[in-house]
């Protein structure tokens, strides 16, 4: 008799989630069913309630734990990724070990994805039955507590990364800021003005760059890449490759004589977007941080032909070091912020816009450089010949964005950027400016006011997606001009508008190597290639990998204010963790039963974290719980069944399978 008596006293709580669940699943029937049919599994009470996650719902569970002496709790509600912590904490509050509470999802997996109410109710019952069968075998666990390393790795030195690094460093914690280019600053350093206030971009950015360069808590690693990251939240170890600058930074004063004397001119397709030149030894721009130049070995005459060394001859401090080699650094860090940014959509991919074929079609980044006072034309907006000022300019919106042939998403910044261009052209040249747009999107603070201002300034707006940009003239008025062919959808007519210059407001895209970078840091990408945040609304800063945070465009297209805000937000999250000094980890770990281990060592090579040690003397393997991440691959592979995993034990899973199939079996028995 006693053998059949359930060991545990289980409470089942079915949430209505307003009508989110109750609209499809008959929650009353489900809880009655669970109370009657799962008695033999130990269910002593089953209730349904409007919002289990509300404080009243939680109190209901707590009251039952205390009054009914519940030893296990199953909550049927939303995904465990949403409210598992809520209900575990509620149990903890009532004195029940939090890991004895199981959350099963009947919202994301049932009511939101099914329409057939009867089938949905049956599925909900099955899922609860699975949860009840599983929870019987849950064991009380205590979270593992590990110390947090106070240093943070910030990857990417654009405005988002700079902001994040400064926030953390100002609060007193060490930061490693890694940047691939020879200087920090990112895309913002290339811009001329920033919308909608038209502040000079360099004027607001460079003070922050200098702050980073001088900050005692920031180790700035430019011209460097992160190659490998190992470990887990609080205790990562990163391998960073510092590429050889060929400049001894201890001796270099940044005087600039080397690049003055360097005879090799190279088209600068990074910082100058291809419209300007740099030397083979260079700093991208005068205010670069750090001030030290690099020698671009692919273009340097000495590295290619073996002679020259002009820079070495003239360097007053003998800082040139042609023999310098890449340096590999291993740093220990507790948290990581990814702020690796974006790249411009390649306008060559749209052949009918003629970029690369028609000289006077420019991309937005080329225009930024033309308009920038520090750019190759000294801020003069001129045609590709370098001298003619355009009399009419077309600005094409949504190039490569909101287009199912290229990118479906809206790049978020192009409307405002195009309005800014229109203003700058107007101000500097007095030319007639046409904006070709699909929709004007100016939702942020003071953005629409800027749009209104542009309308008042006399910029012409044509609503329609540009079909073609051509130099084939149909009439004398079009001779020598670029003709923009467009359907003006507001007047319902095809138009051909001749202009001198076209600016393509190209969209923004994930970096070409964003997928590889995601793999290094163990995070995932969305379908468009932007990095996936933990929650699109409530946690747009964290990722699903604990300890890895996102800032700036790497998470999705955004403007400068939003990038700065996200950088600061990521920093705040990390500072909160550093302050706690310790972090609790899910106690999901594998352990090996020494008596059952045959010493076959199959598990040893399966572990990606090298967490399994082999004791030669005893001929048994052992799991190091500090390194184990709880994936469970070794448990599944052990031929002796000697490895068990907390939280996901064989017994728990096998029972859950039985539970899920309980309804099925009872039905089949009826049929038989």
């Amino acid at each position: 008799m006693d053998e059949n008596k359930p060991k545990e006293r289980i409470g089942v709580y079915v949430c209505h989630c307003g009508t989110n669940i109750a609209g499809v699943v008959d929650v009353g029937e489900v809880s009655t069913w669970a109370g009657e049919n799962l008695k033999k599994n130990g269910v002593v009470i089953a209730r349904d309630y409007k919002f289990m996650c509300s404080s009243l719902g939680q109190e209901l569970i707590q009251k039952d734990i205390k009054e009914q002496g519940l030893t296990r709790v199953v909550v049927a509600a939303c995904s465990p990724h949403l409210h598992e912590a809520t209900f575990r904490n509620a149990c903890k509050g009532a004195g029940l070990n939090p890991y004895l509470c199981e959350l099963v999802s009947i919202r994301e997996q049932v009511s939101w994805v099914h329409t057939d109410k009867i089938a949905a109710t049956e599925k909900a019952k099955a899922i609860i039955s699975g949860g009840v069968a599983r929870v019987e075998h849950n064991e009380p666990l205590e979270p593992l507590r590990v110390p947090i390393h106070p240093a943070t790795l910030v990857v990417g030195g654009g405005i988002a990364g700079i902001q994040a690094a400064l926030e953390i460093a100002d609060a007193g914690s060490p930061v490693y800021l890694v940047e691939r280019e020879p200087t920090i600053g990112g895309h913002m350093a290339q811009f001329d003005k920033t919308f909608p206030t038209l502040d000079c971009s360099a004027c607001i950015l460079t003070p922050k760059m200098v702050q980073v360069g001088n900050h005692p808590n920031i180790t700035l690693l430019t011209y460097s890449d992160v190659e490998k990251v190992e470990g887990y939240v609080g205790n990562f170890e990163a391998t960073i490759r510092k590429h050889a600058r060929s400049i001894n930074t201890k001796d270099c004063t940044g005087c600039g004589i080397c690049w003055e004397k360097c005879p090799k001119k190279v088209v600068d397709d990074v910082f100058e977007a291809g419209v300007g030149y740099r030397k083979a030894v260079y700093t991208p721009f005068p205010q670069a941080v750090p001030k030290y130049p690099v020698i671009d070995r692919v273009n340097c005459t000495y590295f290619q032909k073996g002679t020259c060394k002009a820079c070495e001859k003239f360097c007053p401090t003998h800082a040139i070091d042609f023999a310098q080699e890449d340096e590999i650094l291993n740093v220990k860090i507790g948290n990581i912020i990814l702020a690796t940014g974006w790249q411009l959509f390649d306008a060559r991919r749209i052949p009918n816009y003629g970029y690369g074929r028609l000289a006077n079609v420019f991309t937005s980044m080329e225009f930024e450089r033309l308009s920038n006072a520090a750019g190759p034309t000294g801020g003069a907006i001129v045609l590709r010949d370098g001298k003619t000022t355009p009399k009419s300019v077309a600005i094409v919106h949504c190039v490569g964005s909101r287009d199912k042939n290229y990118n479906n998403y809206c790049s978020a910044i192009c409307c405002m950027q195009s309005l800014k261009f229109a203003h700058l052209v107007h101000e500097k040249t007095g030319a007639t400016v046409y904006n070709f747009y699909i929709d004007i999107r100016t939702p942020a603070k003071d953005y629409d006011e800027f749009y209104q201002r542009l309308i008042e300034e006399g910029t012409l707006f044509v609503r329609g997606k540009v079909a073609e940009i051509t130099d084939a003239a149909f009439n004398p008025g079009e001779e020598g001009k670029l003709v923009v062919q467009v359907e003006d959808t507001l007047i319902g007519k095809q138009r051909r508008i001749p202009v001198d210059m076209v600016v393509l407001s190209a969209g923004i895209e994930p970096r070409f190597d964003s997928k590889e970078t995601a793999k290094i840091f163990g995070i995932s990408c969305s379908a468009s290639g932007w990095y996936l945040e933990k929650h699109p609304k409530l946690d747009p800063v964290a990722t699903m990998t604990d300890g890895v945070y996102l800032a700036g465009c790497v998470q999705g297209p955004k403007d400068i204010p939003a990038s700065v805000a996200q950088g600061a937000a990521a920093a705040a999250r990390i500072l909160g963790k550093i302050q706690q000094k310790e972090i609790s980890l899910e106690p999901i770990r594998a352990t090996i039963n020494e008596e059952q281990c045959s010493g076959c060592r199959i598990c040893n090579s399966l572990c990606p974290f090298n967490a399994i040690l082999f004791h030669e003397d005893k001929m048994v393997s052992e799991v190091n719980p500090a390194l184990c991440q709880g994936c469970g691959t070794c448990i599944a592979a052990c031929p002796a069944g000697a490895i068990s995993g907390t939280g996901f034990s064989n017994q728990q899973i096998l029972s859950q399978i039985d539970g899920l199939l309980f309804l099925n079996i009872s039905k089949k028995e009826v049929v038989a």
Binding site: S524, T633, N650, I657
Partner: protein, 158 residues
Amino acid sequence: MTDTPEIKPFEPTIIGFTCNWCSYRAADMAGISRMKYAPNVRLIRLMCSGRLDPMFVIKAFAGGADAVLVSGCHPGDCHYSTQNYKAMRRFHLLKRVLVQMGIEPGRLKLLWASAAEGAIFAAEVSKFVEEVRALGPLNWNGPIPATAYKSVKEEVPA
């Protein structure tokens, strides 16, 4: 009007194993986006598809499941770096064993789904349910003849 009783179509029961990081979140994403799919799959969350002990699959079949879905992160995207490759190895081996036991290879499916691929998850589940519906209830009649082995050589889902 005839008196023929209404014949209900066969509703298969499918047990699905998902990993905590990608495929379970793909199921969550399908839910959040209200994408509809067939209600025949009941999911079990594991930390990683590498945790999938072949015993679980056999247990599910023995317990009355008509099919089993194994789902994890895309190759290269594994939260535990490479453990989904280990799941893939086991999957192919297990499929061979199941055939030898007399279970049609079409009753075991491997699905890679990233956390962003709710739509793919929903579509693939519905497709799988229809495939299993076409196979009919699991009818364990002993080993399948050797000719059926060819069908095991399917392409690996990428």
